[in-house]
Symmetry: C2
Subunit: 523 residues, 2 copies
């Protein structure tokens, strides 16, 4: 057995059975080993940002890590933005990056770079086995770190000779110098007794939920706390995965725009975070506060670093007497509107047609402002968001989610500007015949930046600046783009065309891209 | 004047007048300032890897830096691969990256990451002004470092409040803690006298040329050394820019494949590098040496770190008596072949039709093996190569080269697999109406990896592995892709179709993509 086979076998032994890959020469022994360890499914991606985003989508939905296989530092660099999003989502991933042979590094060949330094910017663990015998031991540590209660990315840098050398002995010691683990940030927490006291105060206490507290089991517990004590609840702005719809307690997300978020938090005297962070604005602005909670509000954290939010929430509920009688608010489905599309009408149509079990990947950005309200009454579904703010996540995330749950329909809501970072994902969707319906919101601009330029007071007066935010010169044909990548596509301009296309896609296995042509700019 | 205007004004004062940009919220004050500092030309890119690659192409051709404008750590990450290539090319670039406001960083908002740590992996200098007054002073230092004899990338990380705050005073001190400069690697050099002794040995001495020694002025000096002493010459494998054709001394490049490179260096007793590194193989392989020079050959370096290869070469020649009578070898143009295309026939056709002054960007990879020989007799042109081995460079590089020299025709020779990393560059070519002719070699595979898998002995026996190297399921329509991005495209299958398309494009301003359909795999 060589190091590459040891790597694959060790991963498979932990249940890591998908590898999103864009390999090169230094990874060729790993690629060759795929035929000797057939339990590992290789999924080829045309660009590393697709691989890292797909691993993120897979991990969020499957709740266990996929692996990636990337080509040295530049290949990993191409995956960095979506690894950044995955870090914020706390998604478990085993990121495998090939490097030059250990003895070859000294010659500083063209592809040489400091892989570990870059990997530390998004990883919980970075390890570089120095011989084939260390591979299996380091995979074990990497897996443990990626899947420990505070989940994250473990990066394994595999020198080419470590891949191709045999593993004759069990001597796996001596890697301490090549193993780095993020120390994390210690968070001061409150005990369950004090949390109960705060919760007993009812409406002046607000629970800010994140992580697994937003999954079905967590929401059922939260619903009982709300029913018993009347506390308020909000979800963090960008959850990794939020279960919604059907019988589940509807939880509004904290708004992206600071003014709206401050309004949502208004009146709260005590904010208890459960798997979320203290609310701060996404960006700073001149003469605005960074923190969003009302001045004088107390912020408490129930869950410490390295603790499991769902487990802590369960412990809290077990220590309280909670009502079992729940009165559920009923939300109707939106009416399907008519006429030419706007972003709001797209959202209403989706809200009316969304089916049970759908996995929604939301990178609609400005075009998606009304999606949360229009889908509130939809059947039970899950919602994945742009956790780290690095656009170009949606289509890769949808690809990985569809592989994690092949029986589900994945509905990818994608903004035009964002799609252009990683739409190579469509090719992998076609290649693997994945059940992904992409709705491409085409408003021909980086509309969110028009909003920001307006805030700077320069939207009308600055033609050069404004030109940097427009995607209409030349116009991009997203249907051509999709078909070139092997995914059938349809352009829709009216609600009835959109409805028809959505229903058709929901009924038809495999991927489809629906380009929704919207008025230019914000709508 | 605010910090953003100070930044733009300072850049323009140094002659930095192009900014390849993919901005976000934290860069909005810089974008707004474009209208107040109109000497700076903003070129919008849909993806940061296009911006970094275009800045590389611009810098190689213009010989002076362009700037970039990127959105925090993930945006810079998307540009990393082409910054890596630019680092290897020693291209001067001023890389501007926005960050959160200084006081906002503590809240670890979603887009927060360690930008400086990642930037150090490819930069000569990384600086973060802490107030608007420091901007101008740091731009001066960044420009000096980027354009000093050993050129490179200076990264300026600009916090949002540094952009938007006014610059009331001249107090620009106190930035030392936020300024990092790469110490570089000291190279032991030989003095001119010893170099003359070695050169006098004639054919047993080989000059390995790199950097500016491969530009027209350098080659004219080298030609006289060769004519006088009969030394052998080779160019480094992947020069940033190599002047060729017409009356220039033809210099073969050291081969990419180690066995071929060793053969080229065979018999050399003394190798003097002039702007190049000691020859080492691109990758290591089991049971192969990493170093390519014959065992026992002596390696000497004429140019130290921080020294200008062209200046050192001039000094050497000034210290010698060189022949002025040059006998030039004449290379004819290749015949235009006939019939269905192969990679070799494409190369011959290009060799026959290449026009004077063309800037060739070569990322043809395996499809381009015969390009150097087929273009040896072409009129005077320049050749840009994949300096750092990070694929996805070609189309961005061509974009920047065309902006640096708007009167030239840029011929971008692009492999199918490589094009799929950064073909968003086509949109910028259409938007700016650039004179770029792209020949897309479509062999439906990562052919170079098939070669590598064969070396591992697993090409035929490993269907799963082989499937990771094929781009034919689904087939990608590069003409659709190009048109979707706004660039007209034509698919050619025969030599006569290719010839017609090339001549048409050379005669017609603006961009065109020619998809050359080749037999699958290596040809």
């Amino acid at each position: 057995m060589n190091g590459a086979e040891s790597l694959l076998s060790s991963l498979v032994s932990h249940g890591v059975e998908v590898c999103f890959t864009n390999p090169g020469t230094s990874e060729m022994h790993f690629v060759a080993a795929l035929d000797r360890v057939p339990q590992m499914r290789g999924v080829l991606c045309l660009f590393e940002g697709v691989a890292s985003g797909a691993a993120d989508g897979y991990g969020r939905v499957a709740g266990k890590p996929a692996s990636t296989l990337l080509h040295l530092g530049p290949g990993m660099g191409n995956g960095l933005a979506n690894f950044h999003n995955a870090r914020r989502a706390k998604t478990p991933i085993i990121n495998v990056v090939g490097d030059h042979a250990t003895y070859h590094l000294q010659y500083d060949a063209p592809l040489t770079s400091d892989i570990a330094a870059v990997a530390r910017s998004f990883s919980k663990l970075v390890a570089t086995p120095q011989n084939a015998n260390q591979v299996s031991a380091l995979v074990n540590i990497a897996y443990r770190e990626a899947t420990s209660p505070e989940k994250g990315i473990s990066t394994l840098i595999i020198p080419a000779d470590v891949s191709w050398n045999e593993t004759p002995s069990e001597d796996a010691s001596g890697f301490d110098g090549n193993l780095w683990v993020d120390e994390g940030v210690q968070v001061e927490t409150i005990d369950l007794g004090f949390a109960r006291e705060l919760i007993a105060k009812g409406g002046e206490t607000l629970l800010l939920l994140g992580g697994d507290a937003l999954r079905e089991e967590g929401l059922k517990l939260i619903e009982r706390i709300v029913a018993t004590f009347g506390v308020r609840v909000l979800a963090e702005t960008f959850p990794a995965i939020l279960d919604r719809g059907g019988e589940l307690l509807p939880v509004d997300r904290l708004a992206y725009l600071g003014e709206m978020a401050s309004a949502q938090l208004g009146g709260a005297k005590n904010i208890i975070t459960i798997g979320a962070k203290e609310p701060a604005s996404f960006f700073a602005y001149p003469n605005s506060r960074s923190l969003l909670a009302p001045e004088g509000a107390n912020i408490f954290h129930l869950v410490g670093s390295g603790e499991d939010p769902a487990a802590k929430l369960t412990a809290l509920c077990d220590s309280m007497t909670l009502s079992t009688s729940i009165e559920r608010q009923s939300f109707g489905l939106p009416e399907i509107p008519a006429g030419e599309l706007t972003a709001t009408k797209v959202a209403q149509t989706i809200g009316a047609l969304l089916r049970e079990g759908t996995i929604v990947v939301d990178e609609a950005n400005t075009s998606g402002f009304s999606l949360p309200s229009s889908t509130k009454g939809a059947p039970r579904h899950s919602w994945l968001t742009l956790t780290g703010g690095a656009i170009g996540q949606g289509m890769p995330l949808a690809t990985g989610a569809a592989i994690a749950d092949p029986d589900a329909r994945v509905l990818c809501l994608e903004a035009d500007g964002s799609s252009l970072y990683t739409f190579q994902a469509l090719w992998s969707q076609a290649r693997e015949n994945l059940n992904v319906t992409t709705v491409l919101f085409n408003n021909q601009s980086y509309a969110i930046l028009e909003l920001e330029l307006a805030k700077v007071g320069a939207l009308e007066s600055s033609p050069s600046a404004r030109r940097m935010l427009e995607l209409n010169s030349p116009l991009i044909d997203f249907c051509d783009l999709s078909r070139a990548m092997g995914v059938e596509a349809v352009k829709v301009r009216t609600v009835s065309e959109l409805s028809k296309a959505l229903i058709h896609s929901f009924d038809t296995p495999g991927p489809l891209l629906i380009e929704a042509v919207l008025p230019a700019g914000m709508s």
